[in-house]
């Protein structure tokens, strides 16, 4: 159900549903909050850099949560940081999406038992859309996670937010 399936080639007209158009616009420019936590953030930066080029999917880092659509939790979420992540998430305008990147933010990772300072999964404070496994995940895995999120957004409905 691509947006351009019903294009009329001679007169620059596209017929589509408003919902599909909105979803297409949203998934094609997921501006990301410039926010990194630990070693996963290094892989996230590599994903943004020229070789993997996050920008080809419309992902551009923004310095403010108020201009961001997506926050990638890239690393260990300590109890101290969890409160700040929650605040950043609350400062983002709707619609907003979350990718949890790496074992630490998925479930606590190597700190699951003796990490007295680590939150065992960022989904204990904010709702996660896509979990990317790995320690840390390679850039390809993060790209896969983003594509999964895009698929999720493509099937979203105006009346009911599914992602």
């Amino acid at each position: 159900m691509g947006l351009l399936d019903q294009e009329f080639s001679d007169s620059n007209i596209v017929i589509t549903k408003a919902e599909d158009l909105l979803n297409w616009a949203r998934l094609s420019s997921l501006w990301q909050l410039g926010f990194g936590l630990a070693c996963c953030a290094i892989e996230m930066m590599a994903t943004s850099a020229s070789h993997y080029d996050f920008d080809r999917f419309g992902v551009i880092p923004r310095p403010s949560p108020r201009q961001s659509d997506i926050i990638i939790i890239s690393g260990t979420v300590t109890l101290k940081m969890a409160l700040r992540i929650k605040r950043l998430y609350e400062q983002m305008p709707d619609p907003k999406y979350i990718i949890s990147m790496g074992s630490c933010s998925n479930c606590g990772g190597p700190y699951w038992e003796h990490g007295y300072h680590v939150l065992k999964g960022v989904d204990r404070v904010i709702p996660v859309d896509v979990y990317v496994p790995g320690c840390p995940p390679r850039p390809e895995a993060l790209l896969e996670g983003l594509l999964k999120l895009q698929e999720k957004i493509r099937t979203e409905s105006l009346s009911k937010k599914s992602a």
Partner: protein
């Protein structure tokens, strides 16, 4: 360049009233034990004496010796009563190229050690960390507050051997 026993002799002759001992049995390095309330004066001496010139505090770390009485709690966990907490000081002289390790031990129930922040500025954050992780009070420290854990952490000191993690912190479940 001075050997550990020469440094010990210098210390003993300058502080004849203090119980200063050396443990040479440790396989890695000789450790000189000094009293916790006098470590600042000993530090100044080690730093300024022309034969020693220990200008660099490489590391300061807290240790839970866990040598007190172990008490079984009702929920199978263990708590420790009595015994000591220790602080280790690794010193280096950048000009004379020698090293030494100092140790102070203090009571677990009221762990008080004199601060060496005034001797080596490095000690500022190191002592805050030892306070944060073990609850060792450094007397005359300019800003003794938690450095790694949240400022309002009230569940104790995480690196003590009988530490128990709380069930919740600010509404967030802590255990796995």
């Amino acid at each position: 360049m001075k050997k550990a026993d020469e440094i010990l002799e210098l210390l003993k002759s300058n502080f004849p009233d203090l119980p200063i001992e050396m443990d040479s049995e440790t396989p890695t390095e000789p450790i000189i034990s000094v009293p916790p309330k006098e470590i600042d004066k000993i530090g100044v001496f080690l730093r300024d004496n022309e034969e020693l010139l220990f200008d660099s505090l490489m590391c300061l770390s807290g240790v839970d010796d866990a040598n007190g009485e172990k008490i079984k709690e009702a929920d199978e966990s263990e708590s420790i009563k009595g015994g000591t907490l220790s602080v280790y000081y690794h010193l280096h002289s950048t000009s004379l190229k020698h090293k030494i390790t100092l140790k102070v031990s203090t009571e677990r129930e009221s762990p008080e050690v004199e601060s060496v922040e005034g001797v080596w500025k490095t000690a500022d954050w190191h002592e805050r960390e030892a306070y944060d992780m073990f609850g060792i009070i450094f007397l005359n420290h300019p800003n003794l507050q938690r450095i790694l854990m949240p400022y309002d952490w009230d569940a104790g000191y995480p690196l003590r051997k009988d530490y128990k993690n709380p069930e919740f912190y600010k509404g967030m479940k802590v255990p796995y």
